[in-house]
């Protein structure tokens, strides 16, 4: 029941986060995974103490509302997510704020659309070979020809940088792919 006294209202905090994943993630899958992680870590009583709500999620960045006494718990819940609907993912906490407005202004840049495009280029080196899936700044995700190369870490793609591919140069500043 809604309290009429503002002083009795629970205080909230807003966690801004970034999702790094090997594929596209929708907000419904994300909140399901976060709630399942919270339930398995802290149980029903823990969920009741700290009701999480996904305020927004767009272009891999989102805002999550939590109770102001359970911030560390919420961080642990987000860090304990290793995959979302079978897609390998990691949730990175960017920052914490007291209002939606300040959290958005501080931690969610408006022009931050991450573009994941199929590159179509191939890499043939002595040690590794495969197709480039996407590039982001200096980072290169590679679909390896031999699946056993990613066996130990359960990932689909190998993570390389343009420096590994001999295209990196001293003045590379992260704005070009350097390949």
């Amino acid at each position: 029941m809604r309290s009429k006294l503002p002083v009795l209202r629970t205080r909230r905090r807003y966690l801004a986060f970034l999702v790094e994943a090997e594929g596209e993630i929708c907000s419904k899958d994300l909140i399901e995974e976060i709630q399942s992680s919270q339930l398995s870590l802290f149980g029903d009583a823990g969920v009741a103490r700290n009701r999480l709500k996904l305020i927004s999620f767009q272009n891999g960045r989102g805002l999550l509302r939590c109770h102001h006494h359970h911030i560390q718990e919420t961080r642990a819940v987000l860090a304990a997510v290793g995959s979302i609907k079978g897609i390998r993912a990691a949730i990175r906490t960017k920052g914490l704020s007291g209002t939606i407005k300040s959290a958005t202004e501080k931690y969610i840049p408006q022009l931050s659309k991450l573009s994941f495009e199929n590159d179509g280029r191939r890499i043939e080196l002595e040690e590794v070979s495969g197709c480039i899936i996407r590039t982001r700044g200096l980072e290169v995700d590679l679909c390896p020809d031999d699946r056993s190369w990613t066996k130990g870490s359960d990932t689909m793609y190998m993570g390389l940088t343009s420096f590994d591919l001999c295209g990196g140069h001293e003045d590379a500043d992260g704005t070009t792919d350097g390949l």
């Binding site: 398995s40 860090a79 290793g82 390998r88 990691a90 990175r92 040690e127 870490s153 590379a172």
Partner: protein, 225 residues
């Protein structure tokens, strides 16, 4: 605060060393330590020189099937690497690792169902071997397996506090998707039973050990300046 994380790079993980360094730098680490079982076979280690603003150290994880092989492997690796770690997969091997003063870190493997033994803890204290807690089961496992592991960790933690052992935390990352920021790691460690100040000290420990090892020690307590 200078946080440092222990990682595995390609071919034992799926990311190259420079990619791990870039990801770790973005997350707020001041250093990373790459500890592969075969440290000579790391993919493009020279590419790391291009990643500025993060200290990358190449250590080694000792791999041995019996205590004797462990000792000989440690003595051969010690002069070449500033940091040596060992994953204790059985109680006997964990004890052997704790009894070797040349060892820096004994990692308690999550698959090891038993907690740290009293004899190992005493040996670790005597030989100044740090105890490493791999907290990756908090991410990788769910349900009863994870609750069993949490119980084992809390027992090992009690013993480590009792003997005042140096503790380290790692998430055993093999790719950038396994990596977590230092604050997230501390939050996970608190779930596993660490106190906040213990978690911070544990995250700083590998860097401190490497700094100590890189100094020129002539013997115990004697340094060439």
């Amino acid at each position: 605060m200078s946080f440092c994380e222990i990682l595995k790079a390609f071919p034992e993980g799926s990311d190259s060393a420079s990619r791990l360094a870039l990801a770790a730098k973005r997350m707020g680490y001041q250093g990373i330590m790459i500890c592969n079982e075969a440290p000579d076979r790391i993919f493009r280690p020279k590419a790391i020189g291009h990643v500025k603003g993060i200290n990358v150290i190449f250590g080694a994880e000792v791999c041995a099937s019996n205590p004797r092989a462990l000792r000989s492997r440690v003595s051969s690796l010690r002069p070449r690497f500033p940091f040596l770690a060992f994953s204790g997969y059985s109680e006997e091997m964990a004890r052997a690792a704790c009894e070797d003063p040349n060892m820096d870190l004994m990692l308690l493997r999550p698959e090891l169902r038993r907690p740290l033994g009293i004899v190992s803890a005493k040996a670790a204290k005597q030989n100044q071997v740090a105890i490493g807690f791999d907290i990756s089961p908090l991410v990788r496992w769910r349900g009863s397996a994870r609750s069993r592991w949490l119980e084992t960790v809390s027992r090992s933690l009690e013993l480590s506090r009792k003997f005042d052992l140096a503790m380290a935390i790692t998430i055993g990352a093999r790719s950038h998707l396994d990596l977590r920021s230092p604050r997230d790691l501390a939050a996970l460690a608190e779930v596993a039973g660490f106190e906040p100040n213990e978690a911070d000290a544990a995250l700083e420990l590998p860097g401190k050990l490497v700094k100590l090892n890189q100094r020129n020690w002539l013997g115990p307590g004697v340094e060439l300046l």
